[in-house]
Symmetry: C2
Subunit: 158 residues, 2 copies
């Protein structure tokens, strides 16, 4: 039986095949498995075997990482997929909807930052008690990190 027969006949993928098709290193697949993001079973010789499903999962992982999500969050999101059957389009849609919100939030944050950069650094002011760049904590309670005035007569850094 030839190597690619492994996949063509049994619809199983070896770790090397998954690596080539998904574009990630074998060591990364091991790593993702250890972290609970993907799963496999073993053949008689203790080698990993995957269903083709894993290709989509790896693709999703890589896409989600580009949004800035840490692997732990991606793992948790993937855990919400059904156990028994192959995820449906609706399952994936649900995942993508939550990530879309994440993305929108990050885009909004960066956009605001860019505009503030124009106004605040551009003009060189960066006044400690007025600049939104310096005080993105405005809405938070007194507790928490952030710059604090020590003297009431403090107005600016310059």
């Amino acid at each position: 039986m030839s190597k690619s027969d492994c996949e063509r006949i049994h619809k199983q993928l070896s770790v090397g095949e998954v690596a080539k098709r998904s574009g990630v290193a074998v060591s990364t697949l091991h790593f993702y498995e250890a972290k609970g993001l993907i799963a496999s079973w073993r053949n008689a010789g203790n080698q990993r075997r995957y269903t083709r499903d894993v290709l989509r999962r790896v693709a999703i992982i890589k896409v989600a990482q580009r949004t800035g999500l840490p692997l732990a969050s991606i793992r948790d999101a993937l855990k919400t997929l059904p156990e028994g059957h192959k995820p449906t389009a609706a399952d994936w849609r649900r995942l993508s909807a939550s990530w879309r919100e994440e993305l929108n939030a990050r885009i909004a944050g960066l956009t605001q930052l860019r505009d503030q950069l124009d106004h605040c650094i551009g003009c060189g002011c960066l006044s400690l008690d007025e600049c939104p760049l310096r005080n993105p904590w405005d809405e938070l309670a007194e507790q928490g990190p952030g710059p604090h005035l020590l003297d009431p007569d403090e107005e600016s850094l310059d």
Copy 2:
């Protein structure tokens, strides 16, 4: 002489004062100094002393980090500031201009990702050879990472 006299009279800041005013931990200031992002001199008792300038630098560092820049890049950017005199508004403007481009690129990337997420994951297709989410490498040469077809008869993951 009281503690705050250190600053009010001599216009110097201790590391603790900088920490409180800038909102970062003392250990972080040590760390930034070791990495060449900020500078200080020592008093007779070997304690760090800072000019008020450092407050602006720390503010800039924190802002730049929010754009996604690594500290090494921020350090390099800060190195372009004049050595002898206090940076002018024009100096800061030059820095912010380069970071604005970075930001625009990141915003564009995330926006594109969000739209592709809508089209590709939302519908559940993720076709290996067509989906832009799966193949953001389209413009790169053959070499390099990325998913590759092993069989010409491969069309989709499903």
